[in-house]
Symmetry: C2
Amino acid sequence: VATVELISEPLDLEFAEPFRIARGVRTHGYNVLVHLRDGEHEGIGEAAPTVYYGESRATVLAALEVYREQLGDDPGAVRSISERLARTLRHNASARASLDMALWDLLGQRVGLPVHRLLGIDPTGAPTTSFTIGIDEPITMARNAAKAARQFKALKIKVGTEHDDEIIQAIRDVTDLPLYVDANTAWEPKEALRHIERLAQHNVTLIEQPVAAHDLAGLRFVRERSPLPVFADESCVGPHDVARLAGVVDGINIKLMKCGGITPALDMIATARAQGMRIMLGCMGAESSVAITAAAQISPLVDYADLDAALLLKADPFEGVTLTQGKLTLPDAPGLGVRRR
Amino acid sequence: VATVELISEPLDLEFAEPFRIARGVRTHGYNVLVHLRDGEHEGIGEAAPTVYYGESRATVLAALEVYREQLGDDPGAVRSISERLARTLRHNASARASLDMALWDLLGQRVGLPVHRLLGIDPTGAPTTSFTIGIDEPITMARNAAKAARQFKALKIKVGTEHDDEIIQAIRDVTDLPLYVDANTAWEPKEALRHIERLAQHNVTLIEQPVAAHDLAGLRFVRERSPLPVFADESCVGPHDVARLAGVVDGINIKLMKCGGITPALDMIATARAQGMRIMLGCMGAESSVAITAAAQISPLVDYADLDAALLLKADPFEGVTLTQGKLTLPDAPGLGVRRR
């Protein structure tokens, strides 16, 4: 009987600059690193809890204690473990994501294949990632956008302020890169439509989560009238949400920390594709290269990547996926291919 | 640049007894075996073409010539290849399935893992398989059912005749095993309901494809009134059909030969789960242990298996998955774990 040893430790991350979205501002991420040891190899994973999804570092550590008892004696059975953990204790998705990453890392190391290779994924198909411009004064956001435009091929713009129109205008004055605009639930449906009509005149690629997370009728209302593709983020947590969103949005934003890791993310991708939806793969505000590299492993399966969190940190303690002019390059090393700097 | 060599050969299969369903009778299967060689290992796959899904041995061989040019130089990128082949030439799913199986076989052999292990699947979760009783005189079907009941834990009963009620009554007189009843598109919706009402009195587990494949409104009509769970088979070919069937049926029957192999089957499983559907994993009438073992690799992910085709043959040239009182035991060997007897 092979068992795995689970060790967790705090991972404090500090943003290079305070990061603001429509719902608030953050300066730090209080994450958790997990290590799974099978006696020969060590898999690593990261939980990036957010209060919005009902998690904190304390709940992650508590959930890990529950999940520890359910890891079983067969760490290679990642799909069974993933389902068993979700059945044992719902929500707590970032805690499960950390274990799911570590299990795939372990399996990849055991057989000497990168995780994307285990999954039959062609790494040359990895997309470019957008870079996120947090909320600030329009002139500051434009300056940040101009700077980012030198390195990236697309920008994600956070809105949901008193001066959203000025923000887009100021950014459009300095760059013609594709823009993904993210309202983070800030608008009412009719207000959203007014904003979207104006955004459409600025060559915006898509609008993300224009209305409240629970308001699927509002999302559908906006989507049916919007000249821009409408994506769900806060409305799309796990696989079952993808099914509920059929016909409601044009695309979804999948995050490992919302759904519980690579395994459920693969399920979400399959379901979204079956429904003809487009797919963005995103991240939380504060994630190190552990979690970002885990997400990057499956990024060749999606249309848009927004995997920039590690770049927003003052110091990233890990290295893994790299960027060349915004394009993700997956590590060749077995497992996740992540190591401490 | 690693390229793979594709070799195909005919595989003639003969049924032990002529096999009849509502649409006709078969005595042989004219299948195709494929071999993919990377210089070190050899992956194997099988196409079981059926005219109902628009394929014959000749079309499989012709499609393989088209697909041969699209295999690319990276045989490990199974997901990309699977999508590329489907885009290059639609339909021809059994030809694609043979290549998809062979690619997973190759990848598994290259890293020394069974395919189910590559996919993170726990083999101890493999289900039991039902055994199929083809259409015949009620007394003969009952005799066959009684014989099968000694070895299996569930039976699939083919109906769609002038005397469907007598068939079920005769079988119920000899066994109380769970019965999956399969009408193979034979009934009109209202006729189906009359049959199903009677079946429900005989402790039948589910009714498969009661009405015509294209008649989704009819399927929904039946499902909304049926006391038994309604499954789609002929109405459910590939991943997009699963999305179209949300709310229309209670479950689906996935077959590698309908959808194009293990890769799209995994996508269908994910989508069906997201929609709360139950899943059966089935096979065509004539499949050797190559194709049956390929399907068995992902069987721990489903609720019902109907993977008995190799048992209906006069002689199965291959061995792979084995059965103990109907329960599937997956091979431990790398790749598909199939070899010639």
